[in-house]
């Protein structure tokens, strides 16, 4: 199949934008204006190109599409290819990344004043890395993107962040680095096992059961930090609170999904036996994450921190769905990740709107905003309800599918997760009541302005998508379903054949024993 190298184009076009921004000369205001314009137009073009991926996507096959392959490191036994491709699982993550980059650049239009050029460069580089992660079909390539993400994010938090930004940036970087270097060793071990760094080869390889456990744990170290799962989640509240609004949006919207994506893409299909073996652990960690962080969220006084903790809870649902390992649950997990990508991104933008006006995220400083900001109250309400999982919004679809799927595996886990739905409703509604309802008591809130047209334009696509995904999820589920079904079938087959093998192992010696006795 010959076609444009569309994936490479989507991945690396942002770097062309970076090159243009770097050439911008003149005084600071001119450079800043040019940087903004170039960054926005680049990201819009990239987004439009990525739409073409969806349009041209064949929903009837689980194979990788838009595949590109080129030789990269050719010498020696350790040959690495440049191999890109997407399937139903990765398609929407690419779109999510490109969409959120556009929104982030638009959202930072007037709020970032210092070092605008560097800011825009960071976001475009970040976009390349994010898209690359979801497209890479070679482990080394994947790892380059996976770790490369840290650099721009480190700078974004550290340069444009809040008061404790340095602490948060270091914590973010070192935590995630520690996880990912362990997965590098696992990748090398996979290479020696399969003889190739190709992800497709590894996906179809049957790893020995003992090795699966070790490799699973090494990958787990890296993905669990990214998701983040309890108890390695502590970097997240710090990073979220200190990052600038757009940084939080990308963190919550895309970076957390890298962990979930890793579990679906690698851990589950490559190590089906280990996944089965560790499912109780994963369920336990997920349940703790969901319940514990919901309670923590309830106690927060900082809006961003509250949403950060709610993110951990929602991602707990995702990991639960993934390791329930049936078609409904995994589809639900993917949809939940997409939905959370949109909703949490939107919620951080919602917080950003009032933060830009009052420069505080303290919940007690607000109240009665509905009077002065009706449009804002409406937008906030929709996303808040989507986060709670109200039917008709995207949040419902994912959570429902995950609960249905998990119920088939473990009713207890399903029950624990369902309690979190109630808790989720509690902290979100509580937040909404305190910020939006009531009467205005503070003077600076009396003349607060409602959403500007720019802000409305940013929220509009998110609003449409959240409702679309809630009312007619099939447009999104169709591409996902084929890939997920294929994945789940393979996992099932592997687990069943292993079970059969172990039965034979038990039966055969027993028979041998009986025959010797009879003799």
């Amino acid at each position: 199949m010959t076609h444009w190298p569309l994936l490479s184009l989507v991945t690396f076009l942002p770097l062309v934008g970076v090159a243009f921004i770097m050439t911008a000369r003149g005084d600071e205001a001119v450079v800043a204006r040019n940087a903004r314009n170039i960054a926005l137009s680049t990201s819009v073009i990239v987004f439009l190109l990525s739409i073409l991926l969806w349009v041209g996507f064949d929903t009837t096959t689980a194979a990788f599409q838009f595949v590109e392959r080129a030789r990269w490191i050719t010498i020696g036994g350790f040959a690495i290819n440049y191999h890109m491709g997407i399937d139903g699982i990765s398609l929407f993550f690419v779109l999510l990344s490109t969409l959120l980059t556009v929104l982030c650049i638009a959202a930072s239009w007037n709020t970032v004043h210092s070092q605008v050029r560097e800011y825009m460069i960071s976001f475009l580089v970040l976009e390349t890395m994010m898209v690359g992660i979801f497209c890479a079909l070679d482990f080394v390539l994947f790892y380059v993107f996976f770790e490369g993400v840290l650099v721009p994010m480190f700078l974004i938090i550290g340069i444009w962040g809040g008061a404790r930004r340095i602490y948060a940036a270091f914590k973010f970087f070192l935590y995630t680095l520690l996880g990912s270097v362990l997965s590098l060793l696992a990748i090398l071990a996979v290479y020696f096992q399969t003889g190739s760094t190709d992800i497709e080869v590894a996906l179809n390889h049957a790893f020995p059961p003992d090795m699966q456990k070790w490799l699973f744990l090494a990958f787990f170290a890296s993905f669990a930090v990214k998701v983040p799962m309890w108890p390695v989640h502590t970097w997240l509240p710090d990073a979220h609170v200190e990052a600038p609004t757009a940084g939080s949006v990308i963190l919550a919207g895309v970076l957390l999904k890298m962990g979930g994506y890793g579990f679906v893409r690698f851990s589950l299909p490559m190590f089906p036996l280990a996944s089965d073996y560790f499912t109780p652990l994963m369920f336990a960690l997920s349940a703790i994450a969901v319940i514990y962080t919901s309670f923590v969220a309830l106690a927060q006084t900082d809006m961003k921190k509250l949403i950060a903790y709610s993110s951990i809870a929602h991602m707990g649902f995702v990991t639960m769905g993934i390791f329930a390992a049936n078609s409904e649950a995994v589809q639900g997990a993917v949809i939940q990740m997409l939905s959370h990508g949109l909703v949490s991104a939107a919620l951080f933008l919602v917080v950003g709107v009032v933060y830009d006006r009052l420069h505080t995220r303290d919940i007690d400083r607000y109240g009665g905003l509905a009077e002065r900001m009706p449009a804002y109250a409406f937008v906030f309400m929709v996303f808040m309800l989507a986060s709670v999982g109200l039917p008709g919004t995207s949040g419902f679809v994912g959570e429902f599918l995950i609960l249905v799927g998990t119920f088939r595996v473990s009713t207890l886990e399903c029950f624990l997760a369902a309690t979190a739905l109630v808790l989720g409703a509690m902290y979100m509604l509580y937040l909404y009541r305190r910020v939006i309802f009531g009467t205005i008591t503070r003077d600076d809130l009396r003349d607060i302005v409602d959403l500007t047209p720019r802000e409305k334009a940013i929220f509009a696509p998110l609003l449409v998508l959240v409702v679309w995904m809630g009312i007619y999820p099939n447009s999104f589920l169709a591409p996902i379903r084929v890939s997920v079904d294929n994945l789940v079938e393979r996992v099932d087959a592997a687990q069943k054949s292993a079970a059969r093998a172990s039965v034979i192992e038990i039966v055969v010696p027993a028979q041998a024993a009986t025959t010797t006795k009879n003799q």
Binding site: F78, V151, I159, R165, F170, L174, V181, L184, L185
Partner: protein
């Protein structure tokens, strides 16, 4: 047939040419007087480049000269190329600095040429005697350049420290060599390889001899616990000399270390592996942890170089072609990153004063974005973060470690690299997150700018075409195992 046939000198052609050129340049300097430093420096660079070409012409097939005492093969050519590049760039880096510190004397490039000759002999050593000869030729020249700023107490102290401790290490090495001779009856690597190339049970005396030589070599490449001189000498020596120390002699010492253990004693890997593993772990951990508290960037780079030697030694501990390949790739990339970093450090001057504090870099991202970007790239590369070249260095090292079953060592390595990332990031933090101070003196010296630009670009773009270095290293590593 004559009693003593004329030795075949052709394998040593580059060394002979280099030493002759060094003498000629010494004469040029003497006749032209004090003002000739710049001329002699550039001529030295030209000589080094010419010798590099000559190395290529001598070829990569294995040839032995001087009755088996001297060898040239692909491995030697690869390492010599790195050493020559390191020396040439160091001379270029020193130009401006020496002029401004009134130590611009023609002896400097000549001494570097002589040290380089010693290093090339080390790389090509095929006999314990040649090994010692090269090592001492190198060291004597280095002791002098360390205290080249002779009116500065710091510099002379550095030179003296280096001399005293270096002499001790040389003594140990010599003692080890004599033990090896006593217990094996030969000093020639080829003969030793016949005895110990296959797994055998060696005598304890021989093992002690190997360990003593290893100690001497560990000192020269500043592996823990023989690293004590490194931070002091790096801090005290004039900055361009430190830059030189951190690349060329280190690469030569690592090259010698690898050849010494792999070629003659390849069969005794079980015996010496634990020593190397210990040196490696200790270097990585100390290099990462001790660097955290440093405030002087030269000291920081000293600890960083200790850590990097630890990573390179992982490849040696693997004792396989892929391990040696990893070492070679690692050293090549290390050379690249280090030269760039030192070029930035040499740009750190305000009102004619050289600065060495990490805090002096505050806000460089705003005052000099280009310089800050370059240093940022080098720091991420030294930390081994993709997509920079530094990542690939680590990748090939860990690849070899996993292949050799040294999983524990690899895990310690990656954990140490995360700790190490902290202090590299601290420099990025100082440059980008802290409030700016006054800008550094401008304009930057054009030669520094050139070195900066080339090394930054190569560090970033290595990912696009890694084949030349990887392929060269593959060939070189294979030549060490082909017998």
């Amino acid at each position: 047939m004559p009693l003593l046939p004329a030795p075949d000198l052709s394998p040593a052609l580059p060394e002979i040419a280099l030493v002759c050129a060094a003498m000629a340049l010494l004469l040029v300097g003497v006749f032209r007087g004090d003002g000739s430093a710049r001329l002699v420096s550039w001529l030295s660079v030209a000589v080094l480049v010419a010798v590099l070409v000559l190395c290529g012409l001598v070829g990569i097939e294995r040839r032995v000269g001087f009755y088996g005492m001297f060898v040239t093969d692909a491995y030697a050519v690869f390492m010599k190329a790195l050493v020559l590049i390191g020396s040439a760039v160091s001379i270029i880096l020193a130009l401006r600095f020496n002029e401004e510190h009134r130590i611009a004397r023609f002896e400097f490039p000549v001494l570097i040429l002589l040290a380089t000759t010693g290093m090339m002999v080390m790389v090509s050593a095929n006999d314990l005697i040649t090994l010692y000869l090269g090592l001492e030729l190198q060291s004597l020249a280095l002791y002098v350049v360390a205290s080249f700023d002779r009116d500065s107490v710091r510099s002379t102290e550095a030179g003296l420290k280096y001399f005293v401790l270096g002499a001790l290490a040389s003594g140990m090495l010599l003692y080890g060599a004599s033990l090896i001779y006593g217990f094996a009856g030969t000093t020639e690597f080829t003969e030793l390889a016949k005895l110990f190339g296959q797994p055998t049970r060696p005598s304890t005396g021989l093992i002690i001899g190997i360990v003593f030589v290893a100690v001497g070599l560990a000192f020269k490449c500043s592996a823990v616990p023989f690293h004590m001189w490194t931070p002091d000498v790096y801090e005290g020596a004039p900055t361009p000399v430190t830059a030189f120390f951190s690349v060329a002699p280190k690469i030569a010492a690592v090259a010698l270390f690898v050849r010494f253990l792999i070629e003659p004693f390849g069969g005794l890997v079980v015996e010496w592996r634990q020593v190397i593993v210990f040196l490696s772990v200790a270097s990585m951990v100390l290099g990462s942890v001790a660097a955290i508290a440093q405030t002087n960037i030269k000291r920081l780079m000293a600890y960083s170089s200790i850590g990097h030697v630890g990573y390179a030694l992982i490849g040696l501990a693997a004792a396989s072609p892929s391990g040696v390949r990893g070492v070679l790739i690692y050293m090549a990339i290390y050379l690249l990153m280090n030269l760039g970093t030192w070029a930035v450090i040499l740009c750190m001057r305000r009102q004619g004063q050289m600065l060495e504090g990490i805090a002096d870099l505050s806000g460089l991202g705003r005052t000099q974005p280009g310089l800050a970007l370059a240093l940022g790239i080098f720091m991420f590369a030294l930390a081994g973060i993709p997509p920079t070249a530094g990542f690939f260095g680590k990748l090939y090292i860990f690849l070899a470690a996993i292949d050799a079953g040294l999983v524990g060592l690899a895990v310690i390595g990656v954990v140490a690299s995360v700790i190490g990332a902290f202090y590299y990031l601290r420099i990025v933090k100082v440059m980008y997150f802290d409030e700016p101070l006054a800008s550094f003196d401008r304009p930057l010296a054009p030669e520094l700018k050139g070195v900066l630009l080339v090394s930054a670009l190569l560090t970033m773009l290595f990912i696009l075409w890694p084949d030349p270095i990887v392929g060269g290293a593959e060939l070189a590593a294979a030549s060490l195992f082909a017998r």
